[in-house]
Symmetry: D2
Subunit: 377 residues, 4 copies
């Protein structure tokens, strides 16, 4: 691909950024405060605007209910649009209510289960108000000890709950089912892996798909292969991008294994044109120790770089090498793309869009952080 | 359950033992020789007869083709039957032919792929000759390096190959698809997890099911939950029992985490009466360092003990505790069953079957090992 | 060992229980409230008294500073002693102060590092007041991203800080250095494994030893072997008992792999008489979902059971089997001990101490929980 | 660092390549034959000469005894020197003799243990003949089952064996102790981690150091931190470079996580000038599926690239960022070095040494492979 094409591709490549990525977060041991961290959805959107301002790579801001709940959704939509932003995926919260202690969509108690379902249905209503098409469902349900739950009964309840949710979707809406290996439940997780999320999405129908979160796998898992399996079966719906070294660390994108991220993009390119919005590409990080907007710009840039590198793969030569079982040459073709420094292409594309080529430093020098640190107390 | 019932249950509980468990095996570094290790299928069946003689818990001997290939299958069947044994699952070998270097059922080369398919079809013919109903398919295919293979193309070829195989099954035959996390391929494995095996079994039809090998999961995986998911979806077809601490160590059953094994049986009991042969319960070990027959008797006994313990779970009280979200009591009920010493029940059941209550020591004292050590050189 | 000896052993076997195990705890996602959970050190000691009342197996209550800080330490000591309890290990907190965001004992900022050191020195003063001999130091320091910290500089600062702390120890005091694989830092942890803790303890001197927390290892680690290595080198100082399936789950003891726990005790018995207090045997759990006192009684009982089973190992026969490389018999001897149901021995020992044989149910029926649930609001 | 300096650095950067990397190898399931794979040490050195010819980056050829045993060591030395090669680290083999079934340096049997010690002593004699200064000791010893071995007794024997070996070292010789997480033993490994290797090296003295093999760690381990700890304590002696995704896969260097490899070099640079031979930098791979010489050239190049990238880190700015706890800038400095394409520098340095800039393709086109495929049958 020649540079002009690459620049057009990366200019059209957009990711959603999460509202919750701009607020304080941490571990079970401590939430350290970042000066100026956003305290509500309006401040989060102001922060998101900064990411957009310096990268023009933001497709939308994913929101989390009830953290981002407002009285007037139309006003929020307008507030975002005035900042060149849309509201993206709507994420229900099924883990912070005392009623969900023993499960949300899998709770044995009809009332509590209904409450959880109703909360998701409420999210679908919000989607309509803000014109969002993606319901992004992470189910934290699980158990801590053998005997605590009846696995099969819980699955049965889960399927039933999901069917109620699914039937409320409008026709151009998509339900993304997220899976996670462990945490917050430690013995078993009801949607523990892609296989379960896939089976559930098949039970439901075409509007249900699977979302991959990079931090939600066992060590040693080949994630790019899961991309292939789900995509070829028509069931890959989106991505939650972040990094992890051991568990679900929610570090900024590309901070642990840039090569793996690149290989994921190589695989995605086989099924999707990522420069046209087909997949829900969402950053999901909680960079507890980094200034929030900087952390988000880093992640956006890591994705742009991985994407550009992935476009450099000489697909034709790769196929030839594969046909000859020339493992060395096949790998060299992949590595050649990865080792190429694409940052100048990215910088030029930014300049052509009227942006500073060095987004991160431009933001750092802008004074925004000290302003909001004062303003937000 | 009262002791008499337990004894009847464990008397009816049978497992298949693998022919290959009686021959020398090892790691990539060294195959240490065990004196008297069996050298062919006849010696393997002689060894299996010993396990049967001292436990009466053997349902059949699983065979591996071509390791166990003979000219006259009817004669082999007779040879086994004379020893109170049947021929069980037939296991094709798709990893030891030079032609499978770059894949067997996924090989891009039509001839090599056909050769692999033909080998499996040959196994189906053998099944007919020996009256086996289980085709147990482990696919070692995968790649070592990024770029080496085209994931989606390989899946396409795999599905196509499996369909050819499936269509050759007779109506009471079952194809068990085995998955494995890694090894012998190190970058990607075509059937890497239960999700892929499940999806493939759905593509094929009711005669295709999934077999779980205890050594084929990522660290931290909750295997009993996979039992539940597959069983409730009608797709659990069998088990390969063994133990592992880190990778696919193929140690004797119950040597690493007896509690996990017990919990797997607790889950199995919810879906199957294991005392009637519904599932293909097969030991799959390569106890490289232990005398072979002893190792097999140990594994059979570990399964009997886990099974007996699992039958002790007070299912009614457990359900009540679960309904009350009484996590402590639910776990105590599970642990109470596990902590109960069931070995006297096992011993009594053996005595009632005319066996020595201490199977392992009876065998050790029998002189069989020194006899075959001499005879087999 | 005959039953009378076993009963004497288990009667003399005592563990420390942690004050923090009686208060609400949870994951980064949610701290669910347990009705009646203790809110301060006095309530925690009241709860600990219950564990003591029903088990007589509590050697002391470990405390955590500043969570358990009081104005009058002598009064606290008296409060505990009136309840047949002592104050055990003192645990500094180096993770909850904003100043420790970029490290405590490794902080580049002299003032912040001094603050951390001073906090630990304050804990040593508290030890003197409450007559505690164990300073139990868990260092949460680490980094989240490559480049964030200078590994070697941090080690240098750590050693320097530890030397200052060490020099303040009185002669019969012990500093226990705890290691942890990851969390709350995700890229690197300054004291990541036993090797680092061991090297540091060698740098310091005889009063410094290593404490093993069962949840702080990579998957697949053989913990009983670490017990052996540290013990034979005179550097094992204590244990934090809990359970985990994947990460540092802090589940109640024995809930994931009872066999591993037993094997740890088998190894400990080779170096220590656990019925005489030589090692700091401490429970460290945060059973977020279970009623707190019940959870602690479960863990105490799991330790008693593992200990009793471990005493059953026929050491002499085991040595003989090992000398003959009789792997099967050696393992059978180990398993024979594990499979024996020791609960009647435990129950009898309780009865001989004037306790209810079923400690957990006796407590459950006592009405304590409903009383404190009301009282503590 | 300016380009001229970088070129000088990379020209002086040399690695050892292993003789065994040129012969057929595989998994426990199958050793696939690579046409032309070397069959003896002379062919291995011929192959090594090819790597040298196209890269000029080979410091020596590591040998493995008895695989590479010859009658006339002086002649072998001369054979290598005629090809611009030296004999490097000598690697004893303690895993392929039937006598080592239950241990080599830890064997309870005095005769077998002496045999193992004698074998290592023989290797020291070989070192003298071939002027090698590095004894690279990997101890495969361990056990498969609980009870099989007495951990502490084995450590005692190991220390005793190592002392005998150590005392035979000449004064400029170094003993490198290699550790490994698991395999070929599955329950416990006598030298399981860096902590044990470190403690043993301290027991022995200054001539004993630790060698890190990249494939020998638990998942999630931060290897660059182990580099720092060992280096700052004066005990890092060398590296075995390879790649792994899950276990000890022995894939070619840099094929799984190039960023991790780079970070290891960043850390090494703090302690060593890698362009002067201070550390034993050795490739240890068994690229079962790749043509052997190509695989070795790939690995050499991966190391050169990682080394060059690591030299680009702006150490001064990094230190400033660290002092300000500017995590984002610190990481950006690291990533900036990593993302820079250094291949032109490498190519120029090759041209300045009279080499083809594209080493791999030059070799591929040379016809060597087809020649040896014919010659070696």
């Amino acid at each position: 691909m020649i540079n002009d094409e690459l620049k057009e591709k990366v200019k059209s490549f957009k990711v959603e950024i999460p509202s919750w990525g701009f607020s304080d977060s941490g571990t079970r041991f401590k939430v350290f405060h970042i000066p100026g961290a956003a305290r509500n959805i309006f401040e989060r959107i102001e922060d998101a605007e900064q990411v957009q301002k310096y990268t023009k790579a933001v497709s939308a801001v994913a929101i989390h209910i009830p953290w981002d709940k407002v009285d007037d959704w139309k006003a929020l939509k307008k507030f975002a649009e005035d900042k060149e932003l849309k509201i993206g995926a709507v994420n229900p919260n099924l883990f912070q209510d005392e009623d969900y202690k023993f499960g949300s969509l899998t709770n044995l108690d009809d009332k509590k289960r209904s409450k959880a379902i109703d909360h998701v249905l409420e999210c679908i209503e919000i989607m309509k108000s803000v014109n969002s098409k993606i319901l992004s469902l992470w189910l934290p349900d699980g158990t801590d000890y053998p005997g605590q739950g009846d696995f099969a009964k819980r699955q049965e309840l889960l399927i039933d709950s999901l069917k109620k949710i699914y039937s409320a979707l409008e026709k151009n809406m998509t339900l993304l089912i997220e899976y996670k290996f462990f945490e917050p439940a430690f013995y078993h997780t009801d949607t523990a892996d892609w296989g379960i999320a896939y089976a559930l999405s098949k039970d439901l129908g075409d509007k249900a798909k699977v979302i991959i979160d990079l931090g939600h796998h066992a060590q040693g898992t080949n994630i790019e292969y899961i991309v292939s399996i789900l995509s070829s079966r028509g069931k890959l719906g989106g991505f939650h991008f972040n990094s992890r070294k051991y568990a679900d660390d929610d570090l900024t994108v590309g901070s642990v294994n840039l090569y793996e991220l690149f290989l994921i993009f190589v695989e995605l390119n086989k099924f999707f044109d990522l420069s046209s919005k087909k997949l829900a590409l969402v950053i999901d990080q909680s960079a507890a120790m980094k200034p929030k907007v900087q952390a988000m710009i880093q992640s956006v840039e890591a994705l742009q770089i991985a994407y550009l590198k992935s476009l450099l793969v000489d697909v034709k030569s790769l196929k030839e090498a594969q046909l000859k079982n020339d493992i060395v040459m096949a790998e060299e073709i992949i590595k050649d793309a990865f080792l190429t420094d694409v940052r100048d292409i990215l910088k030029e594309s930014r300049e052509e869009m009227g942006l500073d080529p060095d987004a991160l430093n431009a933001f750092r020098k802008s004074g925004y952080e000290s302003t909001v640190a004062k303003k937000r107390g």
